[in-house]
Symmetry: C2
């Protein structure tokens, strides 16, 4: 593999010195970019795009052509693992992801196979390899998966949910069945992410989109426990460098102390958490990634720069911060405003690194 | 008015001694009760039910016939004020509340009248009076409104939203217009809640359903500031008793310290916040209301009792706690399980009150 020309992102995740704060954006390859919409139209649908390594590579690289981003992220979906288990992932316009087969009983859980990452998810590995080749060392490539809890919400509810009725029903009435499912998912995610790392992913992020819907004790028992298991099972070095692990629980700002003990190198923060407070709470245990509200991109350029300055000042001096949005960039964001965000991070952060 | 026979709820909100912890459930008059569904069918639609004082009274009292609740809450909607401003509230099946007229510009904001609570919201006042008469002193009656920020989200988005694109766009690009709207809403809510109190409401709750979608500084500036203004403008004594004010920001658990300074007597907590930590953080400044995940009602009776015990133990000894769910009871909840919840609170809480 070619030498990495910009390693700020990996260095910041490991609290090694950097010249300026690195930045990338969750969902940076996405619908807000007209060139993405054009490629997606050629691919047919979303899964057609995920499943085609050349097109997945093309959209992964698109935002890097526009913005001085410090990392690329594999173009894929958080739900590839349950899809590979045979649940039949599809997307309904305006409805988000859905599964053809739904998991509701212990027998359903027992029937699920643990996917073989090469045989069942080879298209993801091909995309990782293609992207690494095309990146040619420009910036590191991030691999990712959904967290077991988050995957399970979609598998049990059948799609997105407001109240998580079925999975919480199982959690409060039949917890052993849910634990069995989560354990199988953790094992599957370990195999999946390790294969992404072997294929060329240089950091991995676990997206726990729905952990924040739980009470504290239930978060510990049904979400964090399984992310901890994953962190313990991952390959942590590849190509002679450490492979940092980022855990991101949306709406998890109240549990940062325990997340900092879960084996991740960095925690993602959404915008509801003050990054300065978060740094005090996690101490030297982990780096932090985030956390501008994606809606700030609807503001004026001056307002965007003000918000970037506020977050940089909140984190303060020294390495250990990767700037990001607190959630995926919105489909209605103006790419020119995203450019203002990325440029402001590099321009305003030098003073915090000596 | 007849003498209040059970004043545990009011006493706990004011940290006065009680025999057992009082309990009520948000949305306790609702679709999970077959008798509610029957009354609603007679009323036609939801607004027909809100607008008919006799039927609103009937559904308000229904849960009190089933469960030993310590408070009744006016059956109404959080969006009555913008409806009275002329926006045309209606409900689309599966879509939640919507407005016929949407607010997007300063001219739109300027055109909004401040509703006269007697002339424009008389049906609410009639419902309050009718319910007080029928309650006959059994338990106190809670009045309520949406918070200015929460009302504004629906007025600007036109209905429910996932990303709050339009209101946050205004917040980050045209904040003065949004402040003008929020200030007008705060003035309207003060008039509205004071008229509810004059009509017989014995406590009031401000529902800030969407304040938790903001960053900390934006929460302070665009949501809490206006709840503070309301708290300062409310009648705090009526019929010779204090009228406690409860502020509830869903997903606001990270901001309890500043909420405790905002003039409320009590703060509502959702289930993501540990009630013991919350009590340490707010000290003696306010009481706490909450905070069982409504989904626990899908669990076994033993599991429900276990969760009630955990929350009671978390709060600990002394007055200042009103048990509740952390959000409205779900429409699919089993009323028999709700009964288990209510009974467990009274049965298990005596040891914390001496």
């Amino acid at each position: 593999m070619s030498e990495l020309k910009n390693d700020r992102f990996l260095r910041a995740l490991l609290k090694e010195p950097v010249d300026v704060t690195p930045v990338w954006m969750m969902r940076q390859a996405g619908r807000y970019l007209p060139e993405y919409r054009a490629t997606r139209a050629r691919a047919g649908d979303f899964m057609g795009l995920c499943g085609n390594p050349e097109l997945a590579c093309e959209v992964t690289l698109q935002p890097l052509e526009r913005f001085a981003l410090d990392a690329a992220i594999l173009f894929s979906d958080i739900l590839t693992v349950p899809d590979a288990m045979g649940l039949g992932l599809y997307f309904e316009t305006g409805e988000g992801p859905r599964f053809k087969k739904i998991i509701r009983s212990e027998a359903d859980v027992d029937s699920l196979p643990i996917p073989d990452p090469q045989a069942d998810l080879g298209y993801v590995m091909d995309a990782v390899k293609t992207i690494r080749r095309e990146l040619n060392g420009r910036v590191p490539l991030i691999g990712f998966s959904g967290s077991p809890w988050t995957l399970a919400t979609y598998m049990i509810e059948g799609g997105s949910s407001k109240d998580f009725r079925h999975i919480k029903g199982m959690m409060y009435s039949e917890p052993a069945t849910l634990h069995k499912l989560l354990d199988k998912l953790a094992d599957s995610v370990i195999l999946y992410l390790n294969e992404q790392i072997r294929s060329g992913a240089q950091a991995v992020q676990i997206f726990d989109t729905w952990g924040g819907a739980l009470s504290g004790p239930m978060y510990q028992e049904f979400s964090l426990k399984y992310m901890k298991k994953i962190a313990a099972g991952l390959i942590r070095e590849s190509e002679g460098r450490k492979v940092p692990v980022i855990m991101f629980t949306k709406n998890g700002g109240q549990w940062l102390e325990s997340m900092a003990e879960a084996g991740a190198d960095a925690l993602g923060l959404d915008w509801t958490t003050d990054i300065g407070d978060a740094r005090l709470r996690v101490g030297d245990k982990v780096s932090l990634q985030g956390n501008m509200d994606p809606s700030v991109l609807y503001g004026t350029p001056a307002r965007i720069r003000e918000e970037v300055a506020r977050i940089l000042e909140g984190y303060g001096s020294g390495s250990g911060h990767v700037m990001n949005l607190g959630h995926g960039i919105h489909q209605f964001a103006d790419p020119e405003r995203a450019k203002v965000f990325v440029e402001a991070v590099h321009e305003l952060s030098g003073q915090y690194h000596h």
